[in-house]
Subunit: 205 residues, 2 copies
């Protein structure tokens, strides 16, 4: 298992949606004028989208993003989820505890080009005393503030298992009650592609 | 799915093994004087170890390698396997075909520090007309030419599924017969941890 990076999460300023673009209201600011915030709105997208732009150094000689950098962007999305659920730098500093990724299942579904705008949707699938299971879905969007279209296909997905670790003691310890409650409150049904393993390929013939 | 990077694979010069270090003869040069090359020797370790040193830019603020860079090193090991099996840059240029990673299952088992010397063992688990399934196991070794000790625990593992793609046609196509034969000749039994999926974590409670 490994310690999570906890890099600062940069979110660019949001532009106003253009006509014809898909955009949902931000979930964590005050409601906009005339916008009704309902439980189902929150349930549909409880965590804000993590947004990144594909950098030149993430591109291989074929002109497409290299597989490690899909995982880098997913790591940034995990950092953003940690901030949203209270597992932020201040928490790590005051408690010595952090979240360690122990296992990941990645599907690379489509190429991504330099400069592409990425929007990553995070879903908490479950949490118990010391563990959290969650997914990220990566989409390419046209403009900075865009939501992925409802029928958009992700360019990549990942499913992750992470452990809450006391770094001084060097072992997994229970989440504080309030963080476990936040994780549990955010859980959603698993997407149909979760729980996969890699299919066998015959040894010969 | 994504196009593989095909970065050149750098192997440092090998130092002579020091007493007490674990080192096996290189597999792909001529046999050393007095060394008997047997089928079982080849079967035990058919592909050379891929070797890398952990760079400062792979380290997060906690002083350990960040999860994306485990995947970067595994990607270099895939490039090395491609070179060994004939899927090298010359092949890609002359045929327009390459290997695309479509799915990966990673286990992060231990922290890795800046400057650590990594040795990655690759196993082909199976190949059919258009697909290859293989694993990489990452070890930390003390010195550049060291083999991992027979009882060493890997710091990370990955299991991968890749597809042979005609980049001009934009679809999967069969491997040429001689490459498929090379892939099949290298297949080994799957390690016990292969075929895993991420366990469910309860949605609440």
């Amino acid at each position: 298992m490994r310690r999570r990076g906890g890099r600062p999460h940069h979110r660019g300023p949001r532009r106003r949606a253009r006509p014809g673009r898909h955009r949902r209201p931000a979930r964590h600011g005050p409601p906009e004028r005339g916008q009704e915030v309902t439980a189902s709105t929150h349930r549909a997208q409880p965590l804000p989208l993590a947004r990144h732009r594909v950098r030149p150094e993430w591109i291989d000689y074929n002109g497409h993003m290299s597989e490690a950098f899909y995982v880098l962007v997913f790591g940034y999305a995990t950092d953003a989820m940690m901030i949203e659920t209270g597992l932020h730098a201040g928490y790590r500093e005051s408690t010595g505890c952090s979240l360690y990724t122990v296992e990941a299942h990645v599907r690379y579904l489509n190429d991504v080009s330099e400069g592409a705008r990425l929007a990553v949707r995070t879903r908490l699938l479950g949490a118990d005393a010391k563990r959290a299971r969650f997914t990220h879905e990566m989409y390419v969007v046209e403009d900075e503030g865009d939501e992925p279209a409802p029928d958009a296909a992700p360019v990549a997905t990942t499913e992750l298992l992470a452990l809450h670790v006391d770094q001084n003691a060097g072992r997994a310890v229970p989440f504080p009650a309030e963080i476990r409650e936040r994780l549990e409150a955010l859980t959603e049904p698993a997407p149909e592609w979760a729980g996969r393993s890699i299919a066998e390929v015959p040894r010969s013939g």
